[in-house]
């Protein structure tokens, strides 16, 4: 696999689409407006954090309760230790039930386990039904954002894509484009044998699952096909429906600036005898895939995440880079913690390193995850993987700054040197590690006299 560094360079060489910055900014502004219009927002965030913290602290108990309740309401529950187990279970189910067509509701965890490719290999035609995800799937790409998968594309690109892949006439009118997708998807909803969804929240005490969408596709996918497969990261629980209500208050506002999404579906088991609709089977696939290890780690707080994407929208790194270069399903500030905690720092230590620690993410997180501290914690764990020049520089500076007399001498000497090699107090080109500073910026030279020397000279103490 390529390195994060090389993916960043490639993204900048190609040009990061401006639609990412525009889309993320628009979403941030809508979130801010929704939060401002909801007087209880800050109190709700406090409650949401308490709910998530309590759930994660007792996750084993809540998972048992959830699984029991779900089975009582007629669902089949499968615990998948890793991505392969989850994929295999669903592929085997599809084979056993002779499924050839599946429809999907946008879900990050199904991206995480690579479900679409596995189903395609097993001969199941799987269609994404969220408009953004449908676009991304047509383009053969992966989502660039948790909530807005096609944030990196503009409508002209989408228009070309539809001409190319769907054989329709060119239109870049968003309403017409949506109509094309709708007409394409409608028969697929009606003929699919399997509907696949994620789970926004599982309710531990009654085994229900909650799904939020804005397009109604979630409702169709979970009620029309005869089999519903719901894939859930094992941390996505809340204890009760009252807790769910709190989470929905903060989720929609944080994700899209809405008081509530257009559709909120709460599903409790498959169709019961006498009920007019709903699937015959509901399979709940609960995915661990590294989460248990995260639970026992110093960054367990990241499991509070409810995938609203608010931290991506405000993150200046995400806005200027986009999602794909992160190389993982999970991008942005929270992704820079989730990805290495699920897959290991050895391969992913560059993700937490790539942040200015500005803290904008923590400011908007609906469950108040202290993302900057988690990033620093992961940097601490991977400090031995720092570039040698940076490690050497930090160690040298630490040695110097713990010896005040030597520090005063060296800073004085740097002032003398600065006068020799700078022009009007600035340097334009520096060698080695400082070269990456002077690529785009000048470097100020040390002043002729340090403050410390000035103080001694003028104040004599």
């Amino acid at each position: 696999m390529t390195t994060f560094r090389s993916r960043i360079q490639e993204a900048f060489a190609e040009g990061v689409p401006i639609s990412i910055d525009l889309g993320a900014r628009g979403r941030s502004e809508r979130r801010a407006a929704a939060a401002a219009a909801f007087p209880q927002m800050e109190a709700m965030r406090d409650r949401a954090r308490v709910i998530r913290a309590g759930t994660i602290a007792n996750l084993d108990d809540y998972l048992d309760a959830f699984a029991d309740a779900a089975q009582r309401s007629g669902s089949t529950v499968f615990f998948a230790a890793d991505a392969a187990e989850a994929r295999n279970y669903i592929v085997d189910l599809a084979r056993r039930e002779q499924v050839t067509r599946a429809v999907k509701v946008k879900s990050m965890v199904t991206e995480e386990i690579g479900l679409n490719a596995a189903l395609a290999a097993a001969g199941v035609e799987t269609v994404e039904t969220d408009l953004g995800e449908f676009i991304v799937q047509l383009a053969g790409e992966t989502p660039a954002h948790f909530v807005a998968p096609a944030i990196h594309m503009d409508r002209y690109q989408i228009a070309e894509l539809f001409v190319d892949k769907l054989g329709v006439g060119y239109t870049d009118d968003p309403v017409e484009l949506t109509g094309i997708a709708r007409r394409h998807l409608r028969p697929r909803f009606l003929t699919a044998e399997m509907g696949i969804s994620g789970v926004n929240f599982g309710v531990a005490d009654d085994g229900s699952i909650a799904l939020v969408t804005n397009e109604g596709n979630g409702l169709l996918c979970t009620t029309v096909p005869r089999i519903h497969v719901a894939v859930m990261g094992m941390e996505r629980l809340v204890p009760t429906r009252s807790d769910l209500a709190v989470m929905l208050e903060v989720l929609a506002r944080s994700a899209s600036g809405q008081g509530l999404t257009s559709y909120t579906s709460i599903v409790n088991g498959p169709r019961r005898p006498g009920e007019p609709d709903g699937p015959d089977q509901l399979h709940l696939v609960i995915v661990d895939n590294g989460r248990s290890a995260t639970l026992g780690s110093t960054v367990a707080e990241i499991l509070y995440c409810i995938r609203c994407g608010a931290c991506l929208n405000v993150c200046p790194v995400y806005r200027h880079l986009g999602g794909h270069p992160y190389g993982s399903v999970y991008a942005g500030p929270v992704g820079a913690v989730i990805t290495p905690s699920l897959y290991g720092l050895e391969e992913w230590h560059d993700l937490p390193a790539t942040s200015s620690l500005c803290g904008a993410c923590a400011e908007v997180c609906p469950v108040r995850i202290d993302i900057p501290s988690l990033l620093v914690e992961l940097r601490r764990q991977s400090v031995d993987r720092s570039p040698p020049s940076i490690s050497a520089g930090v160690r040298l500076f630490a040695a110097l700054t713990t010896r005040p007399r030597l520090y005063r001498f060296v800073t004085r000497a740097l002032g003398w040197l600065g006068r020799l090699w700078s022009r009007d107090g600035w340097m334009r080109r520096m060698p080695l590690v400082l070269g990456s500073w002077t690529r785009d910026r000048d470097l100020p030279s040390p002043a002729a006299e340090t403050f410390n020397d000035w103080w001694r000279r003028s104040r004599g103490a």
Binding site: I8, F12, V16, P316, V317, H320, L321, A353, T354, S355, S356, L357, C358, G359, A360, A362, E363, V376, L378, R379, R380, Q381, S382, V383, S386, I390, V394, R395, F397, A398, L400, T401, T402, P404, Y407, R408, T411, L414, W426, V433, L434, S436, W437, R439, D440, R441, D442, L443, P444, S445, P446, A447, T450, F451, N452, W454, W455, R456, R459, A461
Partner: protein, 240 residues
């Protein structure tokens, strides 16, 4: 009342004029300024980079120097103040002696504008620096809640102040981040500079020299003739 000046390594070596202006301001406000000369660096760059053993050494050195003094500790840099207030106690939490020192020092530490507004009010005399705009540095804003204080000081001094669009967006410095991720850092800086240019200000000011250094380094490379001044320099008026 004596105040202790924690000048920060960047001001000491790169921006001594910011230090002189800070002294002038504090004295004008009636404080007796003391400067413990054995101070060096708070350890923030090492801490943020994950080098916690090295940061711990720097923190202990800083605590030894500052805990031997009396009175408020004033810092002309929000991120270094946040380091002393938030992260230093955490780094030495396992060592009882330093833990006590860290708690005392954290309780005494204030960012400059925070201190001025709380202790002496906002009337430090009028200054004229032309049209100025304020960049809200991330650590000052989000760790110390410093935003209204510097603006009140600027407004109180009669500075013609224009709001900066996206004032709370990071300039892209982030310490080692600027060196380890130069493309992203520079892209963030360009966005910031575009906003500063659009504000039509002749001066951009702030409370953290690290961010101001980054902004001025980018302005200079782009040959944009906008002055960058730490708020202490703006408020102190012309240098001594």
């Amino acid at each position: 009342m004596p105040v202790q000046l924690f000048i920060t390594c960047l001001v000491n070596s790169l921006y001594p004029d910011v230090g002189k202006a800070t002294v002038a301001l504090l004295e004008r406000a009636g404080f007796e300024v003391e400067f413990p000369r054995d101070q060096t660096c708070c350890g923030q760059p090492a801490y943020n980079g994950g080098f916690h053993a090295e940061a711990g050494e720097q923190v202990r050195q800083t605590l030894d120097v500052l805990d031997a003094t009396e009175g408020p500790i004033v810092v002309p840099s929000g991120s270094c103040a946040a380091m002393l207030i938030d992260h230093a106690p955490e780094l030495v939490a396992a060592e009882p002696e330093y833990s006590a020192k860290a708690a005392r020092v954290a309780g005494r530490t204030r960012e400059l504008t925070q201190f001025l507004v709380a202790e002496s009010g906002i009337d430090l005399g009028p200054v004229d620096c032309g049209r100025a705009t304020y960049h809200a540095s991330c650590h000052s804003l989000r760790w110390l809640d410093v935003l209204d204080q510097p603006k009140a000081l600027l407004d109180g001094a009669g500075v013609e102040r224009v709001e900066l669009d996206g004032e709370d967006e990071c300039c892209g410095f982030g310490g080692l981040f600027a060196i380890k991720s130069p493309e992203i850092s520079a892209a963030m800086l360009h966005t910031k500079i575009d906003r500063i240019v659009a504000s039509d200000a002749g001066v951009v000011t702030g409370v953290d020299v690290a961010c101001l250094m980054h902004i001025s380094a980018g302005l200079r490379r782009r040959e944009v003739p906008i002055a960058v001044k730490h708020i202490a320099e703006v408020l102190a008026g012309s240098p001594e």
